[in-house]
Amino acid sequence: MYRKITGEKLKKWLAGLKAQAEVLAPARENGLWTYRNFDRQDFSPNFQNSHLPPKALFLESLRAMFEWKSGDGSLRLNPLSPPDGQRVIFGLKPCDAKALKILEPVFAGDYQDVFYLRNLSRTLLLGQACRAQCEGSFCGEMGIDPQDSADFDVFFRETPEGYIARVITDRGNALTGGRDFFGEASEEEWNLARGQIRGRREKHLFDLERVKARAAEYFPDETFWKRVSAKCINCGICTYLCPTCHCFDLCDLQMPGQGARFRCSDSCAFPDFTKMAVHNPREEKWRRYRQRVSHKFNFFYQNFQAIACVGCGRCVAHCPVNLDLREVLLEVAR
C-alpha cells in the first residue's frame, strides 16, 4: 500500500505525533548528523546518515538493569523497568534498520533481553530512501537496497512534491491512515519516486555469496589475518560505530550504601575482552581482528542465518589507519 504527503504536511504530521510519542528526526548537531527530538527542523537534502549508528537508541551503551541498597548486613535488589513510552524515529536508513533486525534474534530467543526487545517494540521506524552513496559504504554488496526496505513500519521516498510512502506494517498503516495528512498513492508513483543514487558504483566490489562460502576456509589462514590486521591499532572505533556490533560487558557501580549493575558496550578489539586468569585465547591482534570479521561473516551466519554487517561504511570511513573491511572481503571473495 502506498500513500503520499507533501513536505510541509509531513512536518505537521510529525509535530502532531509528539502528543503521543517521542519523535526523533535527523538533525545536525555540532556539525554531525544525529537523531534528535523533532522540532520542526527542515530536512536537509544533505543528510546521508547519522554519524553514530542509531543502535544506541535500542542497545544503549550504558543501560542500568537493577540497583541495590545495602546496610546493616542486609541487601535489597530493585529491578529497574525497561524503557517505556512510544517512540517514532523518522529518517532512518535501510542499512541501520536492517541492523536492528539482524540483532533481534540475539536478544530474543530462549533468554529474552527485555530491554532491547522493549526498545524495538515501542518504536515505530520511519525510513527514508538514500540519495547518495555514503563514504566507505558497500550496502549494495551486502544485498541492501538503499531505496527500499521492508524493515520499517513506513518507508519514504522523496519527490519534488513531497514524499511517496510505502506502508509496510499494520502499525504503519494505522499511523498514516486518515485523510488529514496522507493521500493515496499508486505503485506507479512509488516506482517513479525511485531516483538516482549519487556516487553509486556500477559494479559490486565483491560477491557476498563468495564471501559466505569462503569465510570458513580463510579462518585458519594465520598469515592472511596477520597481514590484513597489521596496521590495526586496537582503538575499537569500528565496533563502536558499527550498527551490528553488540558485544557487551556487565559492570557494577558502587556508591556508599547503594549501587547498580549496567549492561555496557564492549569491544572485541580490546585485548582484555577475553582475558582470563591465566590465559587469553585472543591475546594477539590478528586473532581479535579475525574474530571480528569471522563473527560477522561466518559465525553469526552459522548461528542466525544472517550476516552481521550491513555495509554502512562507517568503519571504513572512520578507521584512523584506513583499514578497509571492503579490501579484506574482496580478498576473501577472490
Binding site: 505525533l17 503521543q20 510519542a21 538493569m65 537493577f66 541495590w68 545495602s70 548486613g73 541487601l75 535488589l77 529491578p79 523497568s81 525497561p82 512510544q86 540475539v106 536478544f107 530467543g109 533468554y111 529474552q112 533481553d113 527485555v114 530491554f115 522493549r118 517494540s121 515501542r122 499494520d170 502499525r171 494505522a174 499511523l175 570458513a216 579462518f219 585458519p220 553488540h246 558485544c247 557487551f248 560487558d249 556487565l250 557494577d252 558502587q254 549501587g259 549493575r261 549492561r263 564492549d266 572485541c268 575482552f273 577475553t274 582475558k275 582470563m276 586468569a277 591465566v278 590465559h279 585465547p281 585472543r282 586473532r287 574474530q291 569471522s294 563473527h295 559465525f299 552459522q302 548461528n303
Partner: protein
C-alpha cells in the same frame, strides 16, 4: 496510533538479575582456594531450583561484579549449592573476603551438562587436576548417590603439591569407599605424602585403565587436559568415550555478550561440556 504491546514485568526478573543467596559456610581448600556453601534467601527457590552436573552459574559480589563458576555440589544433594573459587582477580578476591551470613547473587543454571544417561552401565574414569575437580565432584557425588547404575568407578586426582589438593574431605571419603578406586598424585610430594608422585597423564598411563565399556571424564588446567586427552588416546579410548569441560571468559552466560565463542560455538550455551570428538573437530584453536 496503535497501543504497543506491553509485557507485564511485575514479579518477573530480567535475565540479568540474580537471585540473592546467603553464604552458609566457607571452607578453605588451599592457600588460594575456598568453597562456598550458599542458600537461596527465597525459601520457595530452595525447593524449585534444579540443575544438572556440569552446569554453571554467574555469581555476583554486588559492587565488584559477576564471575562464572561451575556448581560443584550434586543435584542429588539438595538444600544448598556449593561452588569453589580460586583467588585470581577482582571478583574472586572480593568473594574470598566474604564470610558466613554475607549475601551474594546467583544467576543460572546455564550451559549444558555431563551426559549422565550415556554413563549408565559403564566403567567411569574421572581425571581431575587442581580446582578442576569442582565440576567432576558434582558428577562424582551424583553417580555415587546412584552407585548401582554404574560399574567400576576410578578417580585420578592430581595437584601441584599436597597443600594444593582441593576437597580433601571428599578425597578421604572416596579413598575409604570400597566401591571407588581412588588415586591421588602430586607433582612434588613432601615427607608425609603417601600418594603417588607424578603428572596426571603419566600416572594415568601407569594405571592403564581399559577402554572397554568405559567413559573418561576429565577436567583441570588446559595443559593437563591436553596431555590427558593424548594419554587416553594412547590407552585406546575413542574420542567419543572422553568428555571434558572448557573454560572461556564469560559475562552474560546466555550467548549474547559475544566473547566465549570458540569458532561458532558458544561455551556458555553449546558447552561447557564437550566430548573430545567435538573438540577435535573445532574449526578454531582459540581455547
Amino acid at each position: 496510533m496503535n497501543q504497543l504491546p506491553t509485557k507485564a514485568l511485575a514479579g518477573e526478573l530480567s535475565i540479568y538479575q540474580p537471585h540473592l543467596m546467603e553464604i552458609i559456610r566457607v571452607i578453605p581448600e588451599t592457600g588460594d582456594t575456598k568453597t562456598f556453601h550458599i542458600q537461596f534467601l527465597d525459601s520457595a527457590l530452595r525447593e524449585t531450583f534444579s540443575f544438572l552436573s556440569g552446569q554453571f552459574a554467574e555469581y555476583s559480589v554486588f559492587g565488584e561484579g559477576e564471575a562464572t563458576f561451575c556448581i560443584s555440589s550434586s543435584p542429588s544433594r539438595r538444600g544448598h549449592l556449593e561452588f569453589s573459587v580460586k583467588r585470581v582477580g577482582r571478583v574472586t578476591e572480593a568473594l574470598h573476603q566474604l564470610n558466613q551470613g554475607d549475601i551474594i547473587g546467583l544467576r543460572g543454571p546455564y550451559g549444558n551438562h555431563f551426559p549422565l544417561d550415556q554413563l549408565k552401565g559403564k566403567d567411569l574414569l574421572f581425571i581431575g587436576g587442581g580446582i578442576g575437580l569442582a565440576p567432576l565432584r558434582s558428577l562424582i557425588h551424583n553417580v555415587l548417590d546412584n552407585r548401582s547404575d554404574y560399574r567400576e568407578i576410578t578417580i585420578l586426582y592430581g595437584a601441584r603439591s599436597p597443600q594444593d589438593l582441593c576437597f580433601k574431605y571428599d578425597l578421604e571419603t572416596w579413598s575409604r569407599n570400597p566401591a571407588v578406586k581412588m588415586i591421588t598424585t602430586v607433582d612434588a610430594g613432601d615427607k608425609d605424602w603417601k600418594g603417588q608422585v607424578g603428572l596426571v597423564p603419566v600416572v594415568l598411563e601407569e594405571i592403564g585403565p581399559s577402554p572397554d565399556g568405559a567413559v573418561a571424564i576429565t577436567c583441570g588446567p588446559p595443559i593437563m587436559i591436553r596431555y590427558t586427552l593424548r594419554s587416553l588416546e594412547k590407552l585406546g579410548f575413542l574420542p567419543s568415550q572422553v568428555w571434558t569441560t572448557l573454560e572461556m571468559k564469560m559475562k552474560c552466560g546466555l550467548g549474547k555478550c559475544g566473547r566465549c565463542n570458540i569458532g561458532p560455538l558458544y561455551v556458555c550455551k553449546d558447552g561447557p561440556v564437550f566430548s573430545y570428538e567435538e573438540i577435535r573437530n573445532f574449526s578454531s584453536d582459540e581455547f
